[in-house]
């Protein structure tokens, strides 16, 4: 493997991402919305509510809770957090439980945006042909494209997690008065599940991007990847599934396994001739 060539292609793709506002802004906007704006709004909203209705969270069922939080199940909140005090319980529920599936959207979004740009975008801009005329092998090309997307997706996911640790403890401080975050489940999510999800998204997008003809098509197909996360969010909020440490470890294993299988398939499909025929 010519690692100098791999790193050259990787650096080129990274530079394109970092200097292109059309790619860079969505990459930053999604993590900021999910990991900064949303927790602040939800916890502040919860604080406002409990200030006006000072009752334990287990009594906060029925219409009052339904109206305030759009159907969040209070029993799930208490089961998940083990905290029954109103304000503290709500903050812990939101920050540890509710945001968890949304956090998983971050590596997915970052990986799909970059990966779509990596193949379909490069073809659309006409730069893929020149690259195919170089001595990089198909394996080197796939490795470079994978790393150019996986590294930023993982860095943004783990960096976003670090920022979220600060945000979560800061917004919960007035009610809890202590540093409570992160818990083990979140550490597993950040360092095990998120990189795996990025790998899975990349593998899927590599297959998709090498087969569709435009960046727009790649984005449309890639957007379907968030559906399992949305299902997880619904299951979590309705109490059907509780994302604990064991489930997170298992989920990560499944995601990594799927990612490796799809990536292997992508490696077989990604042939210079196939790419050249679609130029």
């Amino acid at each position: 493997m010519n690692w100098a060539g791999v790193f050259a292609v990787m650096r080129k793709d990274l530079a394109t991402v970092l200097r292109n506002n059309g790619v860079r802004i969505p990459l930053l906007a999604a993590p900021i919305m999910i990991l900064v704006v949303l927790p602040i709004l939800l916890v502040s909203g919860g604080d406002a509510l409990v200030t006006s209705t000072p009752v334990p969270i287990e009594q906060l069922g029925g219409d009052a809770f339904e109206n305030a939080f759009g159907g969040l199940d209070p029993q799930s909140a208490q089961d998940a957090t083990g905290v029954a005090t109103t304000a503290g319980g709500w903050a812990v529920f939101v920050l540890e439980v509710f945001i968890a599936p949304l956090y998983l959207l971050v590596p997915l979004i970052v990986a799909t945006v970059i990966a779509a740009d990596s193949f379909a975008g490069e073809r659309e801009r006409g730069t893929l042909e020149a690259l195919l005329h170089t001595p990089t092998t198909d394996e080197e090309l796939l490795t470079a494209k994978f790393l150019a997307s996986w590294l930023p997706a993982t860095v943004v996911a783990i960096g976003g997690f670090a920022v979220y640790c600060v945000v979560a403890n800061a917004v919960a401080w007035p009610t809890l008065g202590r540093i409570f975050f992160p818990n083990t489940t979140w550490l597993v999510l950040a360092f095990w599940v998120a990189p795996g999800l990025a790998a899975l998204a990349l593998a899927v997008m590599t297959v998709v991007s090498s087969r569709v003809s435009s960046l727009q098509s790649a984005h449309q197909v890639g957007s379907l990847l968030v559906l399992p996360i949305v299902l997880l969010l619904i299951a979590q909020v309705s109490g059907g599934v509780l994302l604990d440490t064991q489930l997170a470890i298992g989920m990560g294993a499944v995601v990594w396994l799927l990612g490796l299988v799809v990536l292997r398939g992508a490696g077989r499909r990604l042939r210079r001739e196939t790419l050249a025929a679609r130029l």
Binding site: A4, G5, A8, H133, T134, P135
Partner: protein, 319 residues
């Protein structure tokens, strides 16, 4: 590679894409140091042939050898020694011209110092500032073309595959590219495969040409070799009665109507060489005084037109 071995051998190569036959039984070879022109309309199969020669496609039948290697088996070895200017010379838009060259230098394994020296030399040669910080997207089409050509040359390739290298350039820049191609071939012994629509450019630069039409090869050879078999060429006939001469000449002209040149007494007729005597006899018979008959050297355009005129007769012009 043996220095006497052809740089490119294309032997009865066919490549299909579904129902479309992009390259159909094509055979030719290119010698080391030669400038070889691939001529043809859009869709003639020129770009597919370049991709076959550089190992991006496998032929459905036939064989190719590029710089002594089969590009379908050793594509990376071939591509290490070839430099390609693609038909649409897209650059990485967010990288500067120097960065664009630097990426390809790194892919080709050049060390940083040599890469930088090559970048400075080539960009300067093409009239660009190697220290410019503007991204490639801010360049004009002509400047992008120059950067793309410099990028194709950054690793000092033995074989250049150039797809329409002057198509976006102004006349002066195009002149510079033609001079460079000649220099690379004549002074540095590089082999150049030049795909172009520009017949004047091909005539000026190419040692030999291949004329393609819908994937088929219509003619291969040098202009001089192809000319006698080209069928038609121009003849200038100086007469005392040009209007009458035009009427007579129309009966003999092939492909295009005869024309009266600006001197007012010379009629240019494109016809088979064998018909020149009959034309003169008819002119004299019609009462036209023929003062001079001057055969014109056939141009590549004459050959190109003649090669296409043979379509349907199933003939191939070969040197």
């Amino acid at each position: 590679m043996n220095p006497l071995e052809p740089a490119i051998v294309v032997d009865n190569v066919t490549r299909r894409f579904g129902a479309i036959t992009a390259v159909d039984g094509v055979s030719f070879s290119v010698q080391p140091g030669e400038i070889f022109g691939l001529l043809g309309h859009n869709g003639a199969g020129k770009t597919t042939l370049i991709r076959l020669i550089n190992g991006l496609f496998r032929p459905d039948s036939g064989q190719i050898h590029t710089l002594g290697h089969d590009p379908t088996l050793a594509g990376d070895r071939v591509r290490r020694r070839t430099g390609v200017l693609t038909e649409y010379p897209a650059l990485d838009q967010y990288l500067t011209p120097a960065e664009n060259l630097g990426v390809y230098a790194a892919i080709h394994g050049l060390d940083r110092a040599f890469s930088r020296a090559q970048t400075v030399r080539l960009l300067t040669r093409f009239g660009l500032n190697p220290d410019a910080k503007e991204p490639a997207r801010s360049l004009s089409a002509g400047l992008k073309q120059r950067v793309a050509l410099a990028r194709a040359l950054v690793h000092d390739p033995e074989l250049l595959l150039l797809d329409e290298p002057t198509s976006n350039l102004d006349p002066l820049a195009a002149r510079g590219v033609r001079d460079l191609v000649l220099e690379l071939s004549r002074e540095h012994g590089r082999t150049v495969l030049l795909s172009t629509h520009n017949l004047a450019e091909a005539q000026e630069l190419c040692d030999r040409v291949a004329i393609m039409w819908r994937g088929r090869l219509l003619a291969v050879g040098s202009v001089a070799e192809l000319a006698p078999q080209g069928g038609t060429s121009a003849v200038h006939v100086q007469v005392d009665a040009p209007e009458l001469a035009l009427e007579v000449a129309e009966r003999h002209a092939a492909l295009t109507d005869p024309q009266l040149l600006s001197d007012g007494r010379t009629v240019e007729v494109r016809l088979d060489r064998a018909d020149v005597a009959a034309l003169v006899a008819d002119l004299v018979g019609a009462g036209v005084a023929v003062e001079a008959v001057i055969p014109q050297h056939p141009s590549l355009e004459d050959i190109y037109v003649a090669a296409h005129s043979l379509l349907g007769t199933d003939q191939k012009v070969t040197a």
